[in-house]
């Protein structure tokens, strides 16, 4: 940049400031606060976590180095295996539904009608309101004795006796999935709506003139153009859902009979609940390869889109 060369001539009495004229020094000083905080509270704990997971530390007892014993132990732990399966099931099912419903809602919102801004603002509420607090509302709605959902279904003649939403091991996971979808759909809808709005309506019109039916117009025009946004939204959501803690912790606490544990809640139960710190750290870290894979996919995808 020519300007940089010129600015050296300008009289600048304080050497410290002149040093900031050099882009490298300026960049270094601007990045320092971020580097310190992230280093201290992400990189360092990550390193500590890896070390911790290879010891036998419990609350109050400094453990010894035991190698991969903790990982071996959780590998043979049937509750851990259930929680791995649960995590994948939970992530997969909710993502499919959130994407489908979110896309539908985005399409409904992608036209002009009165009160659109208001509707859009209200729709985001489930995503804004602290998750723990809205989850309590769901827990109360799922209460076996006082459930308004049961009352409604009964009045509509769909059920004849109560449904034990969270107490039945076969049903509890489904209930949790419903709440997660409820919370996630607004995020998908609003992000996809932003994506839809960048697509020129002329393309739709051109396709319509060429005789494409609405479904064909969606599949051959809208969907390919929306795909980049969709991919990023899905990958974000997958990471969030995969590491979800709050919903399960509030709704079931991993029960009944450990049927609804995810990686996160099981790590919490073992690490904090039981005090087996090293084993809890091992369970958390067991999540890392999957997260890493998702992040790599996301980075590769973003790079591909950017270079295209």
């Amino acid at each position: 940049m020519a300007v940089t060369a010129v600015s050296g001539v300008v009289n600048r009495p304080i050497p410290r400031l002149r040093r900031l004229e050099d882009e490298r020094w300026l960049a270094l000083s601007l990045l320092t606060p971020t580097a310190i905080l992230l280093g201290l509270f992400i990189a360092y704990p990550f390193f500590e976590g890896v070390m911790l997971s290879m010891t036998s530390t419990r609350v109050g007892i400094d453990g010894q180095f035991v190698g991969l014993k903790n990982f071996h132990k959780i590998w043979n732990d049937s509750i851990f295996r259930t929680s791995v399966w649960n995590t994948f099931w939970y992530t997969g099912v909710t993502t499919v539904f959130k994407l489908a419903l979110g896309l539908w809602l985005a399409m409904l919102l992608n036209r002009h009608f009165r009160g659109k801004a208001l509707v859009r603002a209200f729709i985001l509420l489930p995503f804004i309101i602290p998750t723990v607090l809205s989850t309590f509302a769901w827990k109360w709605m799922f209460d076996p004795t006082f459930s308004v959902i049961n009352w409604t279904l009964f009045q509509l003649g769909i059920i004849t006796q109560r449904i034990n939403w969270l107490g039945d091991p076969d049903l509890a996971m489904t209930s949790i999935i419903i709440v997660n979808i409820w919370r996630g759909v607004p995020f998908f809808a609003i992000s996809l709506l932003a994506g839809l709005q960048t697509i020129s309506p002329e393309l739709q019109e051109a396709a319509a003139i060429d005789g494409a039916r609405p479904w064909q117009r969606f599949w051959h025009v809208t969907w390919p153009l929306l795909l980049p946004v969709t991919m990023v939204v899905v990958l974000f959501s997958v990471i969030q859902t995969f590491a979800d803690f709050q919903l399960v912790y509030i709704l079931t606490g991993g029960g009944p009979a450990n049927a609804t544990h995810l990686f996160a809640t099981y790590a919490y139960q073992i690490g904090i609940g039981t005090g087996l710190l090293s084993e809890g750290a091992a369970i958390s870290l067991a999540m890392f390869p999957f997260l890493f894979l998702i992040v790599v996919v996301q980075l590769l995808y973003i790079r591909r889109v950017e270079t295209r």
């Binding site: 900031l20 004229e21 490298r24 300026l26 270094l28 601007l30 990045l31 971020t34 905080l37 992230l38 201290l40 509270f41 992400i42 360092y44 704990p45 990550f46 911790l52 809602l105 409904l108 036209r111 801004a117 509707v119 859009r120 603002a121 209200f122 985001l124 509420l125 804004i128 309101i129 602290p130 998750t131 723990v132 607090l133 809205s134 309590f136 509302a137 109360w140 709605m141 004795t145 006082f146 308004v148 995020f187 932003a194 946004v229 974000f236 990471i239 969030q240 590491a243 803690f245 990686f263 996160a264 710190l277 809890g280 750290a281 958390s284 870290l285 890392f288 997260l291 980075l299 973003i302």
Partner: protein, 283 residues
């Protein structure tokens, strides 16, 4: 766009939209109605004859009073507000500077650093909470607001940085160059020329960061222990459930009141929030 009968518009657009809005908002209605419902009505089984789900004829403020008289709810609100505000300010400060450096300066490893920050953006709290709890304890920060004020930026800074990078990239280079030709230093050009233009982006990042820290649960649950230090989500969870007994009235009142600050901030800045949300996704 829609040709044909009015009923079509209703069946394909209006009715589904109304259903969506109804389902998305119903739990909040339920929260509100439970807050004002007296206990006698609250604990009436759903299959009782006089179960009256959607309305109450005897509204009461008992649950809200209970919250303020029997628990430290007021304290929790203040704590949450303080922690959210300070960690947002710290994160904005770091994120704006880092975002500027990564978006507009040429220096070695800029691309690699940008990727590294993006990756930390995706590190969930659950991956680190156990070793972090140990570290917090070793620094003697446990059970103080600083445990959260210093750790929340770990997920807020990457987000702010990422969002600000997008904003800074969109500001034309000529703006800065003009200022520099007029004799401003690099640093001054950044402070006086670029930052004011980026204010909408800073607002979005700030609002988003504020709601994220208000929402955070796991770190607050693990790092805080005494009742008067807690944040709203943790306080409500640990103090209004005793064993198997749920105090549903106060619980819903707490959930409602605890949501209000976020809802207010959100309602004033909906547009900023939405652009923050979509900006974070666009990357």
């Amino acid at each position: 766009m829609i040709e044909g009968a009015v009923w079509r518009k209703w069946v394909f657009y209006n009715i589904p939209l109304i259903l969506f809005v109804f389902i998305l908002l119903f739990p909040f209605y339920w929260m509100i109605i439970t807050t004002f419902r007296p206990d006698g009505e609250l604990y009436r089984p759903w299959n009782a004859v006089n179960y009256q789900p959607f309305w109450t004829n005897n509204p009461t403020l008992d649950h809200i009073l209970y919250l303020f008289e029997e628990t430290s709810f007021g304290r929790w609100m203040v704590n949450t507000m303080f922690i959210a505000a300070v960690s947002t300010v710290i994160s904005l400060f770091c994120g704006v500077l880092a975002g500027y450096a990564l978006a507009r300066l040429n220096f070695p490893y800029a691309g690699g650093l940008g990727t590294a920050i993006f990756v930390t953006y995706l590190v969930p709290q659950i991956l680190l909470f156990i070793p972090l709890a140990e570290i917090i304890r070793n620094y003697r920060l446990g059970d103080t607001p600083w445990a959260l004020i210093l750790t929340y930026p770990t997920f807020l800074i990457p987000f702010c940085t990422w969002l600000m990078m997008g904003y800074f990239k969109a500001i034309p280079k000529e703006l800065e160059e003009c200022a520099r030709i007029d004799g401003a230093s690099r640093f001054k050009a950044m402070i006086y020329i670029i930052l004011p233009v980026a204010v909408p982006g800073i607002m979005s990042a700030g609002i988003f960061a504020f709601t994220l820290s208000w929402n955070e649960f796991l770190y607050a649950l693990v790092f805080l222990s005494s009742p008067e230090q807690k944040t709203v989500p943790v306080g409500v969870t640990s103090e209004l459930i005793r064993g198997d007994v749920f105090f549903w009235g106060p619980l819903m009142a707490g959930a409602l009141l605890g949501s209000i600050p976020v809802a207010i901030v959100y309602s004033f800045f909906v547009e900023h929030y939405v652009s923050g949300l979509t900006g974070s996704v666009k990357g």
